[in-house]
């Protein structure tokens, strides 16, 4: 169980998250919904340890990790797929994968399995990541995250800017992963459809506060739409 207790965070003097309580159970997909600027990215960066927590606590399996740095959290099993298909642009695809694999015990052994999951990357190994298309970079980004052998995979709008058929494919891969390897997934999304199809639980974020949350059943779609409309 990964949990936020009254977490406040933001950038410099600006507070963006005003006391978030959130629980991500040990299995399945949890989705955070919200409009542009609601604070989804800020929430996920705070999960990763990339933004300082002003007050409140972050715990994982009972252990307080509020003060741990990002790379320490990643070593514990967190992995991040940032918004906007970010990669190490001047490094090649191979180097992008290697630099992550080398930082994790067992990373190199996972390389083949990850490339099986994204066969398109196999042909782009020597191309600079900065020259890949958005969709290719998204795959690279997820591949990098998987190399760390995560227990909790954090994805920030993976469907953004990607054609619908590929979104479908990515969604299937994410859900498949979650059920197969027991990896839990925390997903930020704007599109209610995509988000709730894949999700087991959801939370709606609006201007830095969680305004609704629950199980992602049939009723949830309407509930979430309603919460987003406000």
């Amino acid at each position: 169980m990964f949990s936020f207790e009254g977490v406040r965070s933001g950038y410099g003097r600006t507070e963006v998250l005003h006391g978030i309580d959130l629980e991500v159970p040990d299995d399945g997909v949890t989705t955070v919904l919200g409009h542009n600027g609601a604070g989804k990215t800020t929430l996920l960066k705070t999960v990763m340890g990339l933004l300082p927590v002003r007050s409140g606590r972050i715990t994982w399996d009972g252990e307080d990790i509020t003060r741990l740095s990002a790379h320490q959290r990643v070593r514990m099993g967190l992995a991040w797929v940032p918004q906007g298909q970010k990669s190490f642009g001047s490094l090649t695809t191979r180097e992008n994968l290697l630099v992550v694999a080398e930082a994790h015990p067992g990373g190199k052994e996972r390389l083949d399995g990850v490339l099986d999951l994204f066969p398109a990357l196999g042909e782009l190994m020597d191309r600079r990541a900065g020259l890949l298309s958005g969709g290719q970079r998204q795959q690279l980004s997820i591949a990098r995250a998987l190399l760390t052998g995560p227990r909790l995979l954090v994805l920030d709008e993976p469907s953004e800017g990607i054609q619908p058929s590929v979104v479908q494919e990515i969604e299937e891969k994410i859900v498949g992963l979650a059920s197969r390897s027991g990896t839990q997934v925390l997903l930020a999304e704007q599109k209610v459809g995509f988000a709730l199809e894949a999700a087991d639980r959801y939370a709606v974020l609006a201007t830095g506060r969680i305004v609704r949350s629950g199980l992602a059943d049939e009723a949830a779609v309407d509930a979430a739409r309603e919460a987003l409309a406000v």
Partner: protein
């Protein structure tokens, strides 16, 4: 003809010394963006390491071989201490970094004066390097040929380190995006420290080389620091290839203008040329072409 060859060689030789003094900076300044004014004093520390080793071991040849790796360690450790105690706190404040490292450079100079005295000392040349060698029938100092070769080895080694090794990949990843590197499980602090260790260590190696062509004094570093920054900036920040071209160019220009004028006038002319060049091409000789974070 003979004059041309000897001038050409003198220029390249000067360029190789400049390059050696600057390669470390191409890491700490070029990659990490830290303006370390004490880099010159790390060179000086390398030179005094060579001097001390020779005092202890006696044999000039053996001392030189021992000094090179040892000076790398000395420079590297000085860099590591500076990074861990001061620079780490001011990565986003270049002006503070400049002032603090300037202070550190003065302290290191005073320290050298206290330990080794103010007058300059000399390191004896190994037998093999003390005479001239013939290049196209023109005699040139063997010590300078050695420095040229050392520079080639050091620069090639650094390029390989950056392009082929896991440390090189890690350094480039952190330079590109500290955030993404951290969130990929790479400790950016440890990487910064290692980068600084290697960059400062290379200053130490440059110091040993410089003992082969001149005396060693506590102010040795001040002679080289400005030129070293000039090489990195003119070459294109973060570009080893650019630094190589810039160093060769600077060396040749300096020697060319010295011919018929004096060393100081030549220096002024070269500086004016570099400033004018940077007006036309602020990104330096070799510009970074890829989109950084894509």
């Amino acid at each position: 003809m003979e004059i041309l060859i000897s001038q050409l060689f003198a220029g390249l030789s000067l360029g190789s010394v400049l390059l050696l003094a600057a390669v470390g900076l191409s890491l700490t300044f070029g990659q990490m963006g830290v303006i370390n004014m004490a880099h010159g004093e790390f060179i000086m520390a390398g030179a005094y390491t060579a001097f001390t080793v020779q005092q202890i071991l006696g044999s000039a040849g053996v001392s030189l071989l021992v000094s090179l790796p040892l000076a790398f360690l000395v420079g590297g450790l000085l860099g590591l201490i500076l990074e861990a105690t001061l620079l780490r706190r001011m990565y986003h404040r270049p002006l503070d970094t400049l002032l603090v490292t300037f202070g550190v450079s003065l302290i290191l100079q005073q320290l050298a004066r206290d330990i080794f005295g103010a007058p300059s000392v000399d390191v004896r040349l190994p037998e093999l390097l003390s005479g001239p060698v013939m290049i196209f029938g023109t005699p040139v100092p063997a010590s300078r040929v050695f420095i040229l070769a050392l520079t080639v080895v050091v620069v090639a080694g650094l390029s390989l380190l950056m392009s082929r090794t896991s440390l090189g990949r890690r350094i480039r990843a952190v330079v590109q995006s500290r955030e993404l590197a951290e969130a990929s499980g790479i400790s950016s602090r440890r990487t910064d420290a290692l980068t600084f260790f290697v960059g400062s260590g290379l200053a130490g190696v440059a110091g040993v080389a410089i003992t082969l062509i001149g005396s060693t004094s506590p102010t040795l570093g001040t002679t080289y620091i400005v030129d070293a920054f000039l090489v990195v900036v003119a070459g294109g920040i973060g570009q080893i290839r650019g630094a190589v071209i810039a160093a060769a160019g600077l060396g040749l220009l300096q020697v060319f203008f010295e011919f018929g004028t004096t060393a100081s006038i030549a220096k002024v002319i070269v500086l004016v040329i570099v400033v004018a060049f940077l007006q036309i091409r602020p990104q330096g000789i070799v510009a970074t072409r890829t989109r950084g974070l894509a």
